[in-house]
Amino acid sequence: MGDYYHFSVNDFVMDEYFQAWVWKPTDENSAFWRDWLSHHPDKAENVEKAREMLKKLNFPKYSLSDQEVAEVWNTIQNQEQRQEVAPHKTSLSYGWYSAASVLFIFCAAYFFISQKNNRVEFETAFGETRSILLPDSSTVILNANSQITYATDWDNQSIREVWLQGEAFFEVRHKQNDQPFKVTVDDGVAVEVLGTSFNVYHRTAQTKVVLNTGQIRMSLPNEKREDVKIMMKPGDLVEVKSKKYSKRQVDANLYIAWTQNKLILDYTSLGQIIQMLKDNYGIEVQVERPELLNQTVSGSIPMPKPESSVEQIAKAFQLTITKQDDTYILTE
C-alpha cells in the first residue's frame, strides 16, 4: 500500500479501504491509518479533506416501517400462490372461473373486514407451507393445514399475541421495550417469550412445543389454581394432552425439518408418520396390522409431493401400497 503517499484527495475519497475507515472503522483499519498518518504527517491535510468529503456525502433515507416490511412480504406470498394455481387455469371450465371469482371476492371481503378490525388471518391448505412476517417483523413459518390470527396494531398493545391452529415455527424478534410475545392455542395453552425461536404443534387436543433457542415459558390452564407455568430450555419438548404434560430433551432440528420441506425421522414410528401425512396433506393411510404402527425408522425424506412421500415411506418400511378410493393401505 505504499502508493497511498501519492494519493490525491480524490484518490483517498475513492479508495475502498479508506472509505471503510471513515464509515465502518474497526480496530484494524483505524490502527493502519493512524500509523500511516504518523509516518506521513505531511499528508494529514489531504486525508482530512477526504474524510470530510465522505462524511458530508449523504442522501435522504427512505425506509419502510416494520409493518410495511411485513405487508410487502405477505403480499409476495399471495402472488406466489396465485402463480402456482395459474397453470391449471387452462383446464378449468367457465363454471370454475366464476366459482373462483366468487371465492376471490369472498376472500377479499373477508380480508377487508378482518383488516378493519385490525386483525389478519392466514391459512394454509394441505401440502402448503408459507412464511409470514408479523407486524414486528418476527417470522412465522406456517405448516400445512394450519391457521394463524393476529392483531396488526401491536404498538398499541401490551403484548404481541397470535392465535394458532395446526403447526408453526416462530422466530421471534426481541423488542427493546421487552414487549412479550405470546402464542395461544385454542385449549388455553400458551407460550410466552421475549425473543427466541420455537415450534408449536396443536392438533386434535394435543399440543407440542419444541424450543430451538432462547428461553420460553409455557402456561397451561388449570381450573383449581393459577395456570401451571413451565420453563423451557433449548432442546426441550413439552407435550400436553388432556391437561397433563410431559417434558423431555429432543433434537430440536428434527422438529423444524418440515420448514425445509424435509421429513427427518429419528426412531419415528409409522403411526406418527401416518398422523403427519393426515395433518399436513390430508392423506389417509391405513395399515393391514396395527402392530406395524409401532415400527420405527430413522433418516431423512424429502417431501416434494405427498404421493411420492407415501411411496418413500412404504419403501423405508418395506411395505407395499394399495389404494382404495382415497385411502392408501400398507401391507407386508
Partner: protein
C-alpha cells in the same frame, strides 16, 4: 428397526433462529433448496436498502413496493435455477434496477408528458451529525451543497449513491448501471471533483474543527 433410504441430494442446510448472523451466501444456498426461513431473512436484510434505492430512482412509493414484491416473488419462483455470480447484494440491486427501469419506461409511455416535477430524484441531504450550535452555520452550507448536487446528472448521483451507500464494489456498480468499470470510476471521480470544488470553503472551515475533535 428399519432405515429410510438415504437420499444423496445437497447436504441439509440448517438455518435456525440465529440465522440472522449467517452470511448472505449461506442463506442463499439454503433459500435455493426451498428454505423459506432463509429466504425471509434475506428479504428482511435487504428490503430497506433496495426500497431506499427505489425511492431515489422514482418517488412513486407504490410502484417501488410493487417492484419489490415482483423481485422477491420472481426469486422464489426461479430459486432452483438461479445462479449468482458475485454477492447477493449485488445480484439483488441488478435485478431490482432492471425491474424498476422497465416499470418507469412503461409508466412514461402512458403518462401525460407535462408534469411539474422530475420523477427521478437522486437528491442529496447533508449528513450533519454535529452539535446544535453548529447546525445554524451548517444550514448555510446545506443550501450550497444542495445546489451543487442539483447540478449533477442523474447518472452521477446514482453512481455515487450505489458506490458510497450500498456496499457495492466499482465492478458491481458498473454491472448494475450497465457501464464499463473504468467509465464508472471516471464518472465518480469527476463527480467528486465537482462537489469538492463547490464545497471547498466549507471543507476548509470544517477542517479546523474536526482536527481537534478526531485526532
Amino acid at each position: 428397526m428399519l432405515k429410510a433410504t438415504p437420499h444423496n441430494q445437497s447436504p441439509p442446510s440448517k438455518v435456525d433462529a440465529s440465522g440472522s448472523s449467517l452470511e448472505d451466501d449461506t442463506l442463499w444456498r439454503s433459500f435455493k433448496t426451498g428454505n423459506q426461513l432463509a429466504f425471509s431473512i434475506l428479504y428482511k436484510r435487504h428490503v430497506q436498502r433496495l426500497y431506499n434505492y427505489g425511492m431515489h430512482t422514482s418517488m412513486d412509493k407504490e410502484m417501488v413496493k410493487d417492484c419489490l414484491q415482483d423481485l422477491f416473488a420472481r426469486l422464489w419462483d426461479k430459486r432452483e435455477t438461479l445462479g449468482v455470480a458475485g454477492s447477493v447484494n449485488y445480484y439483488l440491486f441488478k435485478s431490482f434496477r432492471r425491474l424498476l427501469m422497465n416499470r418507469i419506461v412503461a409508466k412514461r409511455k402512458f403518462s401525460i408528458p407535462f408534469q411539474g416535477r422530475p420523477e427521478s430524484v437522486f437528491e442529496f441531504a447533508p449528513s450533519f451529525e454535529q452539535s446544535l450550535i453548529e447546525q445554524e452555520r451548517m444550514t448555510h452550507q446545506y443550501e450550497r451543497l444542495r445546489s451543487s448536487i442539483q447540478s449533477l446528472t442523474k447518472r452521477q448521483r446514482e453512481a455515487i449513491f450505489l458506490k458510497f451507500f450500498n456496499d457495492l464494489s466499482y465492478h458491481e456498480v458498473a454491472s448494475v448501471m450497465e457501464m464499463r468499470v473504468d467509465s464508472v470510476y471516471n464518472l465518480i471521480s469527476k463527480t467528486i471533483d465537482i462537489l469538492r470544488s463547490k464545497l471547498k470553503e466549507i471543507t476548509f472551515l470544517a477542517f479546523f474543527f474536526l482536527q481537534k475533535a478526531d485526532f
